[in-house]
Amino acid sequence: MLALQTWIVHALFIFFTTESVGELLDPCGYIKPESPVVQLGSNFTAVCVLKEKCMDYFHVNASYIFWKTNHLTVPKEQYTIINRTASSVTFTDTSLLNTQLTCNIRTFGQIDQNVYGIRIISGLPPEKPKNLSCIVNEGKKMMCQWDPGRETYLETNFTLKSEWATEKFADCKTKRDTPTSCTVDYSPVYFVNIEVWVEAENALGKVTSNHINFDPVDKVKPNPPHNLSVSNSEELSSILKLTWINSSIQGFIRLKYNIQYRTRDSSIWSQIPPEDTASTRSSFTVQDLKPFTEYVFRIRCMKEDGKGFWSDWSEEASGITYEDRPSKAPSFWYKIEPSHTHGYRSVQLIWKTLPPFEANGKILDYEVTLTRWKSRLQNYTVNDTKWTVNITNDRYIATLTARNLVGKSDAAVLTIPAYDFQATRPVTDLKAFPKDNMLWVEWTAPNESVNRYVLEWCVLSDKAPCVPDWQQEAGSVHRTYLRGNLAESKCYLITVTPIYADGPGSPESIKAYLKQAPPSKGPTVRTKKVGKNEAVLEWDQLPVDVQNGFIRNYTIFYRTIIGNETAVNVDSSHTEYTLSSLTSDTLYMVRMAAYTDEGGKDGPEFTFTTPKFAQGEIEAIVVPVCLAFLLTTLLGVLFCFNKRDLIKKHIWPNVPDPSKSLIAQWSPHTPPRHNFNSKDQMYSDGNFTDVSVVEIEAANDKKPFPEDLKSLDLFKKEKVSTEGHSSGIGGSSCMSSSRPSISSSDENESAQNTSGTVQYSTVVHSGYRHQVPSVQVFSRSESTQPLLDSEERPEDLQLLDNTDSSVGNFPRQQYFKQNCSQRETSPDSSHSERSKQVSSVSEEEFVRLKQQISDKNNLHSLKISICPSGQETVLPHGLFPFQSIWDSTLKHYIN
């Protein structure tokens, strides 16, 4: 239903619209005012008046009116229905600059129709123009400018108005691009006051500036003087005359001037005192100028009374003052050069060209005089600034004058001291420092009066020699700067020499930099010595060419591969440093930086590894160990020596040599002794392993019987005859004992005392440790070890019984001890057979011996044990005759 109604309304609207196209062109109403310009912030009321025709047509009245500003409906509170056809809207405090206001009606309850629209323009009225001023550029028309005041947001016209008392001039309308100035169309008339003001006008009002009344001639900016020229005077070297042509304004007004000048190489202008140029003129002579100096001039002018404006500066013009005689003597110095002529010196006199302000002209030449003490003066004319002459070793006085077109300078006097002159009295507290991009030198004067000072300086370099430059200062100067072309980052050696009346004083030197910089290269560090926990680093001083400044300190940076970097500052005077607390067996990386006042520079990185042990540490370990070993060995040897008997007993018991026994003498089958005498042979064979020690112990200390003594004599005889064949195996076993044996002793006592223990051993020819020996040998044992009683070993006794049953009746006080019982059960048949063979052969003799023994009542018991497997057989002490017998017997049996 609603949709149908809406459709009908639209259709009707279109119908009416199409029906009355022509009528719609005629608006249904209008708004008053038509084109309002509203002042910002003010109230504004617009009235919309509907036409009767439309009201009837759309069946509306003023109450149907609604307002829109920029397509936004204005609240109804601002509406006022004036009557049936008119409705107004009021805006307070208008702030929009440009507003579209439309009057609308709602027809048929829902169709909004625009009745009329206007555009409201907002802005501000013009402010009163301020600061109106005018200028009359000579030859041009007057131009005035002003301050327009605030922005009006409206098109505002400015009009410059001007008039005389009797005449009014045409208005000057500003152009759009220059709304704050205007140039009038008429030429200014000087000496007639004119009144000028500005009118500013826009839609919201018109305002007029203050009137200014002036004579245009007081607003003139003259054209600058032209054709400025400069001329000098031959009579006066200190003046220059300027001439110029004034502008045409000079015909109307009087002028004053500003004249400025400067030297050609300066940028600072000096000005002639204004009071000297306060009147109209066309020339001016500038005084107190320096001779032979080029000056640049410029000039400007303005009205003499100061009203108006200064003209622009004229074009510059320059001129050179005339020459004057040199105002100062040149700086004068000398160098002594080696001469090959004996008694002469080569002296190079050097001097500086005078600066232009002292030369006062072009220097044509120099005149040098040289005077030896009380000799004739010699004059020389030199065009150069140096002159070399050979002089004697005497003292000389040289003078120098510079000459130009006008005259000569004063003479510079220089005393060349004698060859043997000793300079003294130097300056003190010599300092050099940079300041204001200059290298200043300061010193304290000596106590004596100084005529002047000579400063010499040169660049210190390892690559080039020191070529000095120099300058001279007056004797009153104690501080100056080096006036040479100095370079930054160069080390200068500066020498100050005071010059006294009698010659030069002792020079003093100092090094300085005009400007320091970081070194070009860092120091190269290396190790001098590397220890377990420390490293001695060393480096060379940086060459002066790369220092670029005073090396204030070094910084050593070192680190391990994984560790943090450590920095150490080192004084610049050092060339080595010891890094301590290092870790052993570690790779270190070290680099070094050298610092000047302006910064530092790193050198190359160097690596080194600390050793695992400190120097001498190994020796400290090894030597004591070795010493301890040696000591231990020595102690061991000593112990062994002291305990040799014990050791020998345990390891290598002495076995008496059976071949030296009396038994051997008795035995017809004594084996060839030569096989037994040679130790070497014995040791070379080295196969005797089974040693039987036979120990014969005397039953008591009774003296032997005569028979025994007889047999002993026989033994002695035999001993003498077989001296060279006696075996010494006992002495060579374990220790080479010098203990006498029975075989080597001739004395009875000693035989009785020492032969109480006669050792014999039978070296059984069986292999060592079951090896089969190749040769059966005998060895004598010198062991004093008594044969042990084998009570616990009845088999030993049994063996004896079995061996010799005939002697079984012997008392059992003395006995043979068999250390090894294996012999009895040894399967070694060769030894058994051999033993049997021996017993079968000498059975008869054995019986006889047995009888002899049995005859003796106090015969010692005897026990013998044969140990083919190398067991010891011990004989009892004190039975030498029997012992010999037994030896022989045993040997016989063995053989």
Binding site: K161, W164, A165, T166, S187, F191, V192, N193, E195, H211
Partner: protein, 238 residues
């Protein structure tokens, strides 16, 4: 007695009518010395032949030998120096004002014979200067006290303007123009001399423009002018 009174008041009345006839516009310089200085400077400029006569002679081809001799002021065309010196200040100013008006007309006529734009510009500048001079005379006249110089006799100045006798001869017209300009410069020179006498002669200054009386008069003029001009100022046609 009445005749004497009439004789005294008549010049003032004429001068007053003269200046009243001038439309009141900007404000005159109310400093006598400055104004007087301006007048002197103007006469110095205007008597200089380099501004008008010399360019004219050159532009009109009258700078040939012998022709300059004919470029002489026509006698009686401008008041003589003596005649001007005999005038009172007020009469002098009035005469000067009148003469300058005539000169302006003559210069306008002379412009028709000057084809070159540069010469036209020169003539225009000269005319503008004369207008300015007349403005200053106007202002000076207003500075003079009303009662001064009433005893001076009527000046013997040409009653007519210095217009030449009309002629169709171009050369003659040029020559007349040259004579006119010559007379103009001479006249301005004479005016300058008169002004110089104004400044130099204390007695004359005292007689013609006593400071006290002048200052009073100026003050009075200022007051009256303010009273008269200030209210209608915004209503004056511009």
């Amino acid at each position: 007695m009445q005749a004497q009174l009439l004789r005294r008041t008549l010049p003032s009345l004429v001068l007053g009518l003269l200046f009243l006839s001038t439309p009141a516009m900007g404000i005159c310089l109310d400093k006598y010395q400055e104004l007087f200085g301006q007048l002197q400077k103007q006469t110095d400029i205007m008597q200089c032949t380099s501004l008008l006569l010399d360019p004219y002679i050159k532009s009109q081809g009258l700078d040939k030998d012998g022709l300059k001799e004919h470029c002489r002021e026509r006698p009686g065309a401008f008041p003589s120096k003596d005649a001007l010196q005999r005038l009172s200040k007020r009469e002098f100013l009035r005469t000067l004002h009148t003469m300058l008006g005539s000169i302006l007309h003559r210069l306008t006529a002379l412009q028709r014979d000057v084809p070159k734009a540069q010469d036209l510009e020169t003539l225009n500048r000269a005319k503008q200067n004369i207008r300015g001079f007349r403005n200053n005379i106007h202002c000076m006249a207003r500075l003079l006290p009303d009662s001064s110089e009433t005893t001076e006799p009527t000046p013997a100045v040409p009653a007519t303007s210095p217009s030449p006798t009309p002629t169709s001869d171009t050369f003659q017209r040029r020559l007349e123009g040259c004579r006119f300009l010559h007379g103009y410069h001479r006249f301005m020179h004479s005016v300058g001399q008169v002004f110089q006498e104004w400044g130099e002669s204390p007695s004359r200054r005292r007689r013609h423009s006593p400071h006290g009386g002048l200052r009073k008069g100026v003050r009075r003029l200022q007051l009256s002018r303010r009273n008269k001009r200030l209210p209608p100022r915004g209503q004056l046609p511009r």
